[in-house]
Subunit: 373 residues, 2 copies
């Protein structure tokens, strides 16, 4: 043991402190704390962009605290707070309600954090915190209607079974939505992913799915749904998940997913560096693109700074990514491929990372360096 937290000898002193989102020193490599998070949490290898629906075990996963092991016999969903008819429901009662299945692209709000400089110390995603699954569940709106929201209810708070400490504050993982957001017809209480019961790490036996929002809104391992009469001020709502430039400002809340395209890196990789090697000739570059407000409107492939439009396929559904493809005549030498998406409002991915203190919503254009042989 080298320090009170059991960090082993090979690692230098921690940059992290008791504040949220401490920053790495300029140019500092990844710390032990970030490595611990990176080996627990799971990105989608970019080859996963090959599939309309991401296989369960390839889907990205971010777990704040520990993955709870829920005994479904004892488990109940408590619906309460400012409602006329509070209720506790067993999983069978929930699963007997009207059922829908929706393909939803989900992305972690911290995706791209490790490309920022200085780098906020947290889960060090590069670009891979994304996936699209078919979620099966029942619309939340129907349950809220049956419970009868009080006239003065302003938000719905969702509580998960995962508990831990962040920035010195012990809490169950909780997030809220306004009544208006919570009433959207596509918001689900989901018990299945890709046609099978949720695996434990994805929220078994029941999770919230909020299409269009970054993943923090889709609370896993639901235990409680409470209507409240004042805006929820819990840690994960009021402190975390804000676009903040400094600690002194509250910042705007993180909500919808920003527009983004990713490509499957073409050719073959070097194991350790992930450098790419491509045979010369005609290459079809493909990937997926999405945004949280509507379907993506366009994608371009960049080759050494020259941009050309890609062909966009239909999306599997209104809340899912679209496949794109673009042909490229690969000539020998070193090249930089890039892709960028644009949404219907004209928002386009930036060529420079949008920096903020928590490392949220970095939808920087992806670049892939390739050597053509």
């Amino acid at each position: 043991m080298d320090d009170p937290y059991g960090r082993p000898a090979p690692f230098g002193p921690l940059v992290a402190d008791c504040h949220m989102a401490p920053l790495a020193r300029p140019g500092q490599d990844i710390t032990f704390d970030e490595l611990q998070l990176a080996t627990r949490n799971r990105g989608m290898p970019l080859e996963g962009l090959h599939y309309d629906i991401t296989p369960v075990g390839m889907h990205y996963l971010l777990v704040h605290f520990d993955i709870p092991s829920v005994d479904v016999g004892d488990w109940r969903l408590r619906v309460g707070g400012a409602v006329d008819r509070p209720v506790e429901l067993a999983i069978a009662e929930i699963r007997s309600r009207p059922e829908v299945t929706i393909p939803v692209t989900m992305e972690c709000a911290g995706n791209g954090r490790a490309r920022l400089d200085p780098r906020p110390i947290s889960q060090p995603w590069l670009v891979e915190a994304v996936g699209t699954a078919e979620w099966t569940g029942t619309p939340l709106a129907g349950l809220l209607q049956e419970a009868g929201l009080a006239d003065d209810a302003v938000e719905i708070v969702f509580t998960g079974a995962d508990r831990g400490i962040e920035s010195g504050i012990e809490h169950d993982y909780q997030r809220s939505l306004t009544i208006s957001e919570a009433s959207r017809p596509e918001i689900l209480l989901a018990w299945a992913m890709n046609g099978r019961d949720l695996e434990p790490q994805h929220g078994y036996p029941l999770r919230l799915i909020v299409p269009g929002w970054y993943g923090m809104a889709s609370v896993k391992w639901l235990t409680g749904i409470d209507a409240v009469t004042a805006p929820f001020a819990g840690y994960q709502q009021a402190t975390a998940y804000r676009y903040q430039e400094s600690r002194d400002e509250p910042g705007e809340p993180v909500t919808r997913i920003r527009v983004r395209a990713l490509m499957i890196p073409p050719g073959i990789p070097d194991f350790r560096t992930r450098s790419r090697f491509v045979d010369g000739g005609a290459v079809t570059v493909t990937g997926r693109a999405w945004c949280g407000t509507e379907l993506v409107a366009g994608v371009e492939l960049g080759v050494d700074g020259d941009w050309q439009p890609a062909v966009l396929d239909e999306a599997p559904g209104p809340w899912a990514w679209r496949r794109w493809s673009c042909s490229w005549e690969a000539v020998p030498g070193d090249h930089v491929l890039a892709c960028r998406a644009i949404d219907a409002d004209g928002n386009i991915q930036p060529g420079e990372a949008p920096w903020n203190l928590q490392g949220m919503g970095n939808n920087l254009v992806q670049e892939v360096a390739v050597s053509v042989r």
Copy 2:
């Protein structure tokens, strides 16, 4: 773009070079190359030790190159080389053969690499590269018998569909087993994991399963099985996966899994540091233990250096881990919990990491620092 490989600005110059297993500087944090590997590859969060059989999406995963996307209609398994009756088999032909299901604990040979000092630069596992799945397939031995091995055949070479470059050498991923090892009855050609078709990242449509060996032997995305008349000298066999002290010696090959126990860290975590906080009183500490030669014989729980025996449950099968548990009276203060396993031959986990150049087989005792409140 900051360098030819597209490494972004926040990261310092690479330590890695064109040699295999370059070493980090003493005390150096995790490099960008290691982070790229850590966000692609997937450890099992230690809460996964709760389950006899690891859910598919929680099982560890190490992929050398890219995950191939196999069109199963075109796919054939080629059985050839020094055999009397070479054959090509479609997946339906393989799946109609005699079928068995075996629970197997699999671990990456590089598990624990990131605890070494100096640290070999490769996939930076801490302790989490493990999982136990029920693999369904047909025994390899029957297929080899039907093909008829030539009298001078000495090894069987297994070829995967994944191709890439390692240490400057381009190759398909290939590994071999001696005829004697390959003929063990529990070695499977597996098409299902936990009762379902393999997901792409676990080797769809067919992979090898070599119970008892580290994971590099269980070749994924099988395309070829060839009997050869001289020991296989491919990169992944003769260069990689060796217990080497220096580059000048060939080293012993990595084969069976070394004895190891892991615990589920008790209490609740801090999100970023993963520090653990436990309520005082009676705590049952649980985990799993395994080794690749036989069932684990014993496990001990250490509390601040005092060791006591744990209770071992039955294993789900002869090639799988055993659950262990041990009671602990938690008194307020800071403590270090540890666990160690011993096999039937008296091999016990070391208290100091067994160093080697490639970072293989580090079965160092796990320590978990906890604060009791």
